[in-house]
């Protein structure tokens, strides 16, 4: 989690008015929200910033939600992603699940449901990071007995790279 102690959210939708209203509502719920109106902008924002959870619209011009999901999951392994869609299909739900989406929500949804999903996604992110940290810690413990100081440093660097 960031230094501001708020969940850092990346909200992506090509409908600017929808995006602004949802962003304002989530900000009132004490989330730290950054918006993007395209997949390309979302990927660029994720490169520059640090996010806990992304909420991504499935149907967007240019790069669609599935493509954004794939790229974000490849580059930011602990980022949890919720996909929003106006027209849910079994195929797209399966595709998103395979690509690692945390949840697939159909519009219209209850706002409270979105907030709950974001909090669940954040918890899942923390849990995965924690589990990974323990695993790395155990590896480092083993290395500290059997490896050189350089080997230990390399393992620490890997742990640091995995943080995002």
């Amino acid at each position: 989690m960031s230094t501001t102690n708020k969940i850092k959210l990346l909200l992506v939708d090509d409908e600017a008015k929808f995006l602004q209203s949802v962003a304002s509502r989530l900000a009132l719920q004490d989330f730290d929200v950054t918006t993007a109106t395209s997949g390309e902008e979302a990927i660029a924002s994720a490169e520059k910033g640090y996010f806990d959870v992304a909420v991504v619209d499935f149907k967007m011009p240019g790069m669609d939600g599935a493509h954004v999901l794939k790229v974000l999951k490849e580059r930011h392994k602990y980022l949890e992603i919720i996909i929003l869609t106006g027209h849910a299909t079994v195929d797209s739900a399966v595709e998103c699940t395979k690509l690692g989406a945390f949840q697939y929500l159909e519009k219209p949804y209850k706002f409270e449901k979105l907030v709950e999903s974001i909090k669940d996604a954040y918890e899942a992110r923390l849990k995965r990071k924690f589990e990974h940290s323990i695993k790395h810690f155990e590896e480092i413990q083993k290395l500290s007995i059997s490896s050189s100081p350089l080997g230990i440093l390399k393992a620490l660097a890997r742990l640091d790279n995995d943080e995002k």
């Binding site: 409908e15 008015k17 929808f18 209203s21 011009p61 106006g86 027209h87 219209p108 706002f111």
Partner: protein
């Protein structure tokens, strides 16, 4: 009575269904925006009642968004109505310009739609007697093809012209070359033939014309 497979293979029905699905998706988007703007308005009112000072500009933005989206909804329903009534008569006198504009607006709901520049005479100057539904089908498929060729960031041109004493021409030009699909699509041949239209393509599909008789009576 036709069986289910025959119904599914009917290109007219498939087109009608596709347009309805596209319009319903657009309406869903509109409702989603209204729903979120109204929700935000409620949140702001609640905070205000709790004594928190709220920038009145936020209230104005919400109510303006709701108003604009309701107008957008009316326009969409009007288009839906015009499209739905196009099946009422298999032969009708229609303004070609209005019909092309309706299809540009409806095809504009596609996520890969791009800008279209249209050059057309006064709508009243180009009344033709045709099967409106079938002509809409051809124009819509032509727009789909042109969008795919050009890409969402691009722009192409449509010119509506008189070809000769008996025909009019809808000319698509400045198309890109993103897609390797050809036009007309295979399933379109019978639809094009049914209204005695023809499609003239330039090499490389950078432009093409839909030539339509002024009357098929």
């Amino acid at each position: 009575m036709k069986n289910a497979i025959e119904i599914q293979d009917n290109p007219d029905l498939a087109f009608f269904g596709r347009i309805n699905a596209s319009i319903s998706h657009e309406l869903k988007n509109i409702f989603a925006i209204i729903s979120e703007a109204a929700g935000l308005l409620n949140d702001l009112v609640e905070l205000s009642e709790k004594g928190k000072k709220i920038d009145t500009g936020m209230f104005k933005t919400c109510s303006r968004d709701i108003e604009e989206e309701i107008q957008r909804g009316f326009a969409t329903v009007k288009e839906m109505n015009a499209f739905s009534h196009s099946v009422d008569r298999s032969l009708a006198s229609v303004s070609l310009v209005n019909l092309v504009n309706l299809m540009i607006n409806i095809a504009g709901y596609l996520s890969y739609a791009c800008k279209v520049r249209i050059t057309a005479p006064d709508p009243a100057d180009l009344e033709i007697l045709t099967c409106p539904f079938r002509l809409q089908h051809i124009i819509y498929q032509a727009l789909v093809f042109a969008f795919k060729r050009t890409g969402p960031e691009g722009e192409f041109r449509i010119s509506i012209l008189t070809e000769n004493d008996s025909d009019v021409r809808i000319a698509f030009s400045d198309l890109g070359n993103l897609s390797d699909e050809n036009f007309p699509f295979d399933h379109m041949a019978a639809v094009v033939e049914s209204i005695h239209a023809r499609i003239r393509v330039t090499e490389g599909f950078r432009s093409f014309d839909i030539v339509v008789p002024k009357s098929i009576a």
